[in-house]
Symmetry: C3
């Protein structure tokens, strides 16, 4: 059996240290078995993946940025919520895509995140989802992802 | 007693087959009695209702588009979640309205969806809500609706 | 012990009467101990705090608008949900910031709301959060806040 961490490596990612919130909010909040994960932007050790779909970034670049945000999302589950990635189910993702007013392929950008999470978590990664176009995002990020996760016993 | 399906017909709608996700995500995810419904865009058999409020669409047209998205939302509850529309309560709707930067009547557009859902489901349809203005939406849709539903026993 | 109401006063705010929804939706919906709060815009007795970050409003003005939306959010918890502010925990806030396409400091605007809520509610106010940039908001509001709250006890 390949573990989620190993599957993530097949995609070329190491699970990073979680990003610390830069304010009074917290990265995750839990009630019962339901955990709310704060918005995670597209960033890596190389810095923020800045861009606007329909202008400075194409769909492939956007999907790569969505992957980065998804990796940060998984990091918060593992590190901040302290959950084993083999014992969580993804209930809902909201994928915020920084886009121009006439861009129309937010769903294809969002697939970068959805595909990675399902590849890494298997059936437990299958989630409900919204993909929507934002006027702008913090730090100019191309993608931000928030979500709701269920802890499995 | 008029059923939800019959009330929907009074508004001129047949409950459509649910739209299949075009990616690895799923239309609905359930934990306990709470069901998360993926974002449903304004579309019908005639295609996607494309438009931007404040530019190519007025409030009445936008409210009609919101109705279409609401009908697709109800379809996911009935078909994908397999729930009887008489045995669900709508907890929360987020109504994403594709708009220009100076449009300010997103709430009136959103009422197209809220009014339809309350008319069809009665008191169980009364929901908390946010209505917000998006830079753009997938496929150029005028409206997208996501939500959280409670299964009643 | 200072109460939440007293702490709010230290910030210069009286808990206002809750804003009535102007449509068929309801201000709050509860299932079990989880309460969904409808989107609250930046407004006070003086009217709606209208503005767009990156154009007609700077970060300090935006953070003040976020405070107003947060006060309305607390009002809905106390009045519409009928909960004692000493017996609630804030699980999640989504902070919608009305912004231009090149504004990039939504998180600093959102801190106006996050800081106020943590100051008023203490540890119970510590929440997960997303801060995102909207094309526009209802009535031209600078900020809108929705959220999920847990009733303690």
């Amino acid at each position: 059996m390949t573990t989620p961490i190993e599957k993530l490596r097949e995609y070329g990612y190491e699970l990073p240290s979680p990003k610390a919130p830069v304010a009074t909010y917290i990265p995750v909040a839990r009630t019962g078995n339901v955990i709310y994960i704060s918005g995670q932007i597209s960033s890596s050790d190389a810095g923020v993946s800045v861009g606007k779909l329909g202008d400075t970034m194409n769909v492939v670049q956007g999907a790569n940025a969505a992957e980065l945000a998804a990796v940060n999302f998984l990091s918060q589950i593992a590190h901040s919520a302290g959950l084993d990635l083999e014992k969580v189910r993804i209930l809902k993702l909201t994928i915020f895509v920084n886009s121009t007013a006439d861009f129309a392929e937010h769903h294809l950008v969002a697939n970068g995140a959805s595909d990675l999470i399902v590849a890494v978590l298997g059936d437990n990664g299958k989630h409900s989802r919204s993909a929507i176009g934002m006027a702008a995002l913090p730090l100019g990020a191309a993608v931000e992802i928030e979500g709701i996760v269920e802890a499995l016993d």
